[in-house]
Symmetry: C3
Subunit: 340 residues, 3 copies
């Protein structure tokens, strides 16, 4: 893949400063770029890296245009432009269509679909055009998969779950396992509640490696369009996730919580069960949300790291905060009594 800067701008937009016939072969960071590479400056504080960069051309914001006299593409959001240029230089490698002879397929598939070695597809599945089902994937009966979706090796989808178009699902992800629902009997033993809902996932969703999404108990677990889930995430039964939500690694949402659009969850963060969260909320890393949130904004609950000895000294008081508050109140009372 190689493009002239003129071709690039005609495909992706942006204002070209310099020779439109200059050819670039790959996208790179300022530091690692070599001759033939296109590098980007997303943050003006890295301008010194720009000066020393070996890149042949740059993606810059208009206000950084004066930082170099090498060929540049000017665009209001260089990082977004970089993403699109990177897609252009690196189209996904898709295996040729066809069903590997070792795959076990009980549904009829369009000729454009690729099924890898040792994959297993149950009965009554509806797989749209151009899907890729990687080696060792297992799809239960009645699974639906939208057009152009890509399942990497070893994805498991339980019966009757639905994924939209252009899904990307990474290895080891599990979609549609039983939700965690039990009633307790008088002997304090757990009685399983059958999980008869499905998982229903919108278009343009990416699901990370070893992430798990449980099916609903009676109703469905629902994931909107454009949602991006990182690795090792837990989405419990009957959760609803709004469009364009993004969740970082090892975060999770407990059962029946409904979160709004464009939620951003940091790594190792969590949302407790049966809550509702407004649109445009940001949950900081390692923060657990235990009450519903009805207002957009950033929410945090995280401890500042300390050298261990400092932590020992400071945290002893955490167990006695209530007593300390009493003592401050008492001091105030005494002092007030003196004043009068």
């Amino acid at each position: 893949m190689e493009f002239s800067l003129g071709e690039l701008v005609s495909r992706l937009g942006g204002e070209l400063v310099g020779d439109p016939s200059l050819r670039v072969r790959q996208i790179a960071t300022l530091e690692k770029a070599r001759n033939g590479d296109l590098a980007f400056l997303a943050n003006p504080k890295y301008r010194s890296a720009l000066e020393s960069s070996q890149a042949s051309a740059f993606i810059l914001s208009p206000k950084s245009a004066a930082l170099t006299d090498r060929p540049s593409v000017l665009t209001p959001d260089p990082y977004l432009y970089f993403a699109r240029a990177a897609q252009l230089f690196n189209p996904p490698k898709r295996p040729a269509p066809g069903i590997h002879p070792s795959a076990v397929v009980a549904s009829s598939l369009p000729a454009s679909v690729s099924v890898g070695p040792n994959a297993v597809i149950g009965e009554g599945c509806v797989i749209a055009e151009n899907c890729v089902i990687g080696p060792g994937c297992v799809l239960g009966d009645g699974v639906a998969l939208g057009a152009d979706s890509l399942l990497h090796a070893g994805v498991r989808i339980y019966a009757d779950c639905v994924l939209g178009a252009r899904a990307i699902v990474h290895s080891g992800a599990v979609i549609g396992s039983d939700g965690f629902g039990f009633a307790r009997d008088p002997d304090k033993r757990w009685v399983k509640i059958p999980q008869i809902g499905r998982v229903v996932i919108g278009d343009d969703v990416e699901i990370g490696a070893n992430t798990t999404i449980d099916r609903g108990a009676l109703d469905d677990t629902v994931i909107g369009n454009g949602v991006k889930l990182d690795n090792l995430i837990q989405v419990a039964h009957n959760v609803h996730i709004g469009d364009d939500t993004i969740m970082a690694g090892q975060s999770g949402i407990a059962g029946s919580s409904h979160v709004g659009k464009r939620l951003m969850m940091g790594g190792q963060s969590g949302i407790s069960g049966h809550l509702s969260v407004a649109d445009d909320v940001v949950v900081s890393a390692a923060t657990v949300i235990t009450k519903s949130i009805d207002k957009a904004g950033v929410y945090t609950a995280m401890l500042p790291q300390m050298p261990h000895a400092d932590w020992i000294r400071n945290f002893a008081h955490l167990r006695r905060l209530d007593a300390m508050a009493d003592r401050v109140r008492e001091l105030e009372k005494q002092l007030a009594a003196k004043e009068s």
Copy 2:
């Protein structure tokens, strides 16, 4: 599956109010129920949903009996009755017995067992009657599996591990991987300690998707009867888990800790290594237990979420709690000096 209310009550108990010949087809929530459905009211605060529900019949506690004049089954624990009725309406779908020709099986199995496509079963395994081993599962040599157990697609069980009867194991779960044991040599390199114990699991245990349970170092990792583990849980080597324990998603127990019966662990909670925890302990979500617990009760250590700006303002003081305590003490001293 369709039952008359009379059949239902004769199978599951409860007091029937209304026509015993009325037939119901499925269990449903109050909101989603339609004609032919049986809905349940577990919490009297949802009584308005009951009034507007389209369900044909209800499961109610005796004290809610007056809330409707539609047919009802009265029972002291409607949620438990719901669980049992849901099981009746939704018996698990089990594939037909037999070994798929693509499976690679080196042990002899009862004729009642079902082995899915591309599953692999090692030598010397003892698989009891009516087990289902899903597509792509891998069982090492010498694995034992109790009667009526169900392994969903892609479960991995290492050599010599033992599961009891009626186990349900979800996709991607790993049982018997090496415990995390190393000694440090004088060059500060890690020397692996072979993990020669097993994992031994009781009856009626459910294990969630992508959960991992490590084998013991010298002795076994032991999980009691009736234990329910959600997704993405880590159980380290030599842990003992008491009967009827329930652990929510992304929780974990570190090496050699022994926990009692009926432990309940919230999502993302943890128990450090080498601890002992009494029976009937509840660990709140996102709480880490770092000291042994010898008394039943609820234990918590979790931060309240705050708008980020509030958090910045408040948490700066956490690093200086010790100094604040000193200042309060000094104030008390000065005030006392004034008094005298």
Copy 3:
């Protein structure tokens, strides 16, 4: 496997006290040891267990030599000696070389390599001598695997990733999945940034069950020699991990952070993105590092567990710490005013 104490000492060193012809068959804990076993005392506080142990011989430090008159091997680090003796008694069981007929292999492999049933190996892979690739593993095109490496069942390695010699990778681990990189467009939708880096892993690395390691965005994700990762760990794109680092279960490192040598991370701990961490740092369990660390030492940020009622009482004040600090300052001011 059975050794005389004389053979043991000639292989592993240590000073033998007692009969060199005494034969021992296995390593065991003091409590569980029987006749024929070799037990070890790593911590003098367990001396009473030594007295009642049924072991035939012991591994002891020289200063514990007087605690028994049974045969003993004296060594300055009994735990390390135990690890090495345990390796001697329990050599890993490796399957016979050869490719199982059900495996789908598109690269040429040395005759010493073992490939299990239903494994899939892409084109252009470079697999060194004596590797074991377990049942159901999937290696993408161009994967390199160093000599004597062991992939347990169901490991997935994406295209072009590199592992060094003597790797041990447990079931369900995923290496080389896409890093989590997106740019946001003006409509607040996420645009995928292709992840074209690799994962490059040094020698003697162990990777736990269901752990995930993402490939780099433009450059590589790099893991040094001798690194040990437990289960369910997340290593994000472009992370660099220094030699001999050890990470406990459910911990994680966010994108682009570079950590030094011999980092030790406790269970459920995390390191935020774009940080740098010095050599010889210890991160306590459940602690999240949000600022770079430039000095060796132990760092902690964890709440002490409390009975729930105590927690309710104490943690209410956390939201008002700033106000409490103001009140203390005010009291100091008033008291100072009185003094003058």
